[in-house]
Symmetry: C2
Subunit: 188 residues, 2 copies
DNA sequence: TACTATACGGAACGTGCGCCCCGTTTTGCC
DNA sequence: GGCAAAACGGGGCGCACGTTCCGTATAGTA
């Protein structure tokens, strides 16, 4: 079904990679609001070239976000396999929040309007939730996390923390995150 | 210095009020991204009329947000005066978060780019912080809130919670807020 | 080297929106 | 009722941005 795309010409492959790389950096630094023309300029190509490789702006950052999410899912699985339940869960929590602090585009994509992950890449969303469910249930089983929170709750909290990281102000990110982490622990 | 503005004509006063009212409702329901023309249309006036009363779109929602913030500050002071320290603090927390759930425009203004409250209405920001400092310090004094968080931390957390309220997903808002509230309590 | 499919770049188009202009209407005063 | 000042409204301008088009350049092939 997936049309047999024949191999790209050398310059095409090069440009595609350059665009992806540039877009990743620019979106991470400035968020999804950056114009395509700007990305094209920084990548040293014309706007038309960007659109030949990605039919739409959304398609461009989808490609990037999917990659990012896959990477995070991989890290979640690795943590689940190599670390104790409680530790693994909170390590992943830290991973997610610091990802948000670094990558403005990711936060825009996860929290922003005009981007419904579940609609656009349901399988990745599912993989993400599955990986997180694993981490969460194990952590709850050993009493490291309060028993009543769901995967959806945790996801919302993570996205919220990413947004807070970005909010700036005079707040100390460390302390703010610590509050939420502490809140996730079982009531005493 | 503040130019002596003479009294508005009757129709002007009426239109101004209608615009404010409509803008308040529309911004609350849809966020700050709504075009001015739309607000003008719903208010039953021309776009020019909106701009005569508010020189810029930003000025329009500033007027609204200032009003909203003043109201919240008033509520904070009243709580501080009439309720026990711990209760008052958390009641205000709930007030803020549910304000965010109701008012999309407020969240946009507090969290969004392109709106620096401190730059635009420093005195209100100050009043807000003062009122919150009062609530926070009293709550900390009786051990209802962990001693290490600052006013800025709490503000960030509140804004973050507002954003989460709006994020939707399958998360239960109740539970998510409970996690943060719990995290604000002293370590046990 | 000659030839063609492929890819390139950037000018150009359409749209949406903030904001301004100006001919028309309304208000308040004598 | 008549008049000037104040206010109105909505068409229009300028700009930004996503997307498309097409004449030109280049990679791959014989």
């Amino acid at each position: 079904m997936t049309g047999n795309t024949r191999p790209l010409r050398a310059d095409a492959r090069r440009n595609r990679a350059k665009v992806l790389q540039t877009a990743y950096e620019v979106f991470a630094a400035e968020g999804l609001a950056v114009p395509i023309d700007e990305i094209a300029r920084r990548a040293g190509v014309g706007a038309g070239t960007v659109y030949r490789h990605f039919p739409t702006k959304e398609a461009l950052y989808q490609a990037i976000v999917v990659d990012r999410v896959e990477h995070l899912v991989g890290q979640a699985r690795e943590l689940a396999a190599t670390t104790g339940p409680g530790e693994a869960f909170f390590a992943f929590f830290d991973l997610m929040t610091s990802a948000g602090a670094t990558d403005k585009g990711l936060v825009d994509a996860l929290a922003g309007e005009g981007f419904d992950i579940e609609a656009v890449m349901p399988e990745h969303e599912q993989a993400f939730k599955d990986a997180m469910r694993d981490l969460l249930m194990r952590a709850q089983a050993v009493g490291a996390v309060r028993a009543d929170v769901t995967v959806a709750d945790v996801k919302t909290l993570m996205v919220g923390c990413q947004a807070m990281q970005r909010y700036g102000g005079d707040a100390a990110p460390e302390r703010v995150l610590e509050v939420v982490r502490e809140g996730l622990r079982p009531a005493r």
